[in-house]
């Protein structure tokens, strides 16, 4: 698959490296070139400095041949805008967006963007570990 990732933070860089190792073609975008230091030395994908809400940048990052677009920056609005551009302008078949705010994630899920709220997932998981320590021992050390 051709995978385009926006945001080379911890999650973005770790996914980029993992997809690339599995043989997928990965392009990763970040507005800050130092973010690419998080990528492993043997990363075989392409790293491009640019803003994923900018249509020229997306075109330069081969968005027209992309199968999956992942919006993983720290900004909910940036992620949601880029995801919608990828879906509605460039017709990328599968578009996922990280959204910290659960309310916003729900609204945009209804508008056809696959969203996941990391805050919500984390807080649910921690709550579960606290309430049911015996069944969750291995989870806390993931």
């Amino acid at each position: 698959m051709n995978i385009l990732i926006m945001g080379c933070g911890r999650v973005g860089s770790s996914l980029a490296s993992s997809f690339s190792q599995k043989g997928h073609t990965v392009i990763i975008l970040d507005i800050n070139s130092t973010a690419f230091q998080r990528l492993p030395a043997d990363f075989e994908g392409t790293a491009i400095v640019g803003n994923g809400t900018d249509q020229d940048t997306l075109t330069g990052a081969n968005v027209n041949d992309t199968d999956v677009f992942l919006a993983l920056t720290q900004g909910d609005n940036r992620n949601l805008m880029a995801a919608q551009i990828a879906k509605h302008i460039f017709k990328v078949p599968r578009v996922l967006s990280r959204v910290y705010d659960k309310n916003r994630a729900d609204i945009f899920a209804k508008l056809g963007i696959e969203t996941f709220s990391s805050t919500y997932i984390m807080s649910n998981m921690i709550e579960d570990i606290v309430i049911n320590p015996e069944t969750n021992e291995e989870k806390s050390n993931l």
Binding site: D56, N77, M81, A82, D101, N103, R104, I107, K110
Partner: protein, 221 residues
């Protein structure tokens, strides 16, 4: 009307003031405390500190009874998302957004923002109108029609000088809406009217016909 203005920068602030003067109920939301306190000196209780993209904030300020929301921040992503939340979560009937990057006009339209004001294009067209080397200037995009209003100067080279309007074949869907003559008299066009050098024309055209219209009316290639 109850109008929410998201972003209390220079544009949002001036807009809020003017809407208040016109008798509307206005709430200007600004995230930055310092900026908000400056705004509140003039706007009073119409100035509100908060994040206009936050569902709980929009809920608190009664977005569901708002007649319109106008997003005026300098960031297109924030303007887009606040309009979408207003529309889809709170059912605000009219959402209007400032666009800073002209490239984003299509995505705002596709995603259902009711009206957009393209700041860069507005400034560009103002500047270009003041410069004589641009004989055709798009003035206003007629949203939803695929057409625009433009302003053209009839220059001495033009092949349409001395012709009646019904003898001139305009490209595509182009039409002449108004003629302003040398004496600054504004005329509604009729079939038998004759174009003269120095006339100014306000025309309706599609962006793809703009170039041919310019060549026809100005004689420049």
């Amino acid at each position: 009307m109850y109008i929410i203005v998201v972003g209390g920068g220079k544009i949002g602030f001036a807009l809020s003031q003017s809407l208040l003067l016109n008798g509307h109920e206005v709430l200007c939301i600004e995230q930055d405390a310092q900026r908000n306190s400056i705004n509140s000196k003039s706007l009073g209780s119409a100035s509100f500190i908060g994040d206009g993209c936050e569902v709980s904030v929009l809920d608190k300020i009664g977005a569901s009874r708002a007649d319109a929301l106008i997003a005026t921040t300098g960031d297109d992503q924030d303007n887009l998302i606040t309009c979408q939340i207003a529309k889809h979560k709170f059912g605000v009937p009219k959402t209007i957004a400032q666009i800073n990057n002209p490239q984003n006009r299509d995505i705002f339209r596709i995603l259902g923002v009711d009206a957009t004001v393209n700041i860069t294009e507005v400034i560009m067209s103002q500047i270009v109108q003041e410069m004589p080397e641009h004989p055709l200037v798009p003035v206003l995009s007629l949203q939803g029609t695929g057409q625009e209003l433009c302003h053209v100067d009839i220059t001495t080279n033009s092949s349409v000088i001395g012709k009646q309007l019904n003898q001139i074949e305009l490209p595509g869907l182009s039409r002449i809406a108004l003629i302003i003559d040398k004496n600054r008299e504004v005329k509604i066009p009729s079939d038998t009217m004759i174009l003269r050098s120095g006339d100014e024309i306000i025309a309706v055209t599609r962006p793809e016909d703009e170039e041919n219209l310019r060549i026809l009316l100005t004689g420049d290639n």
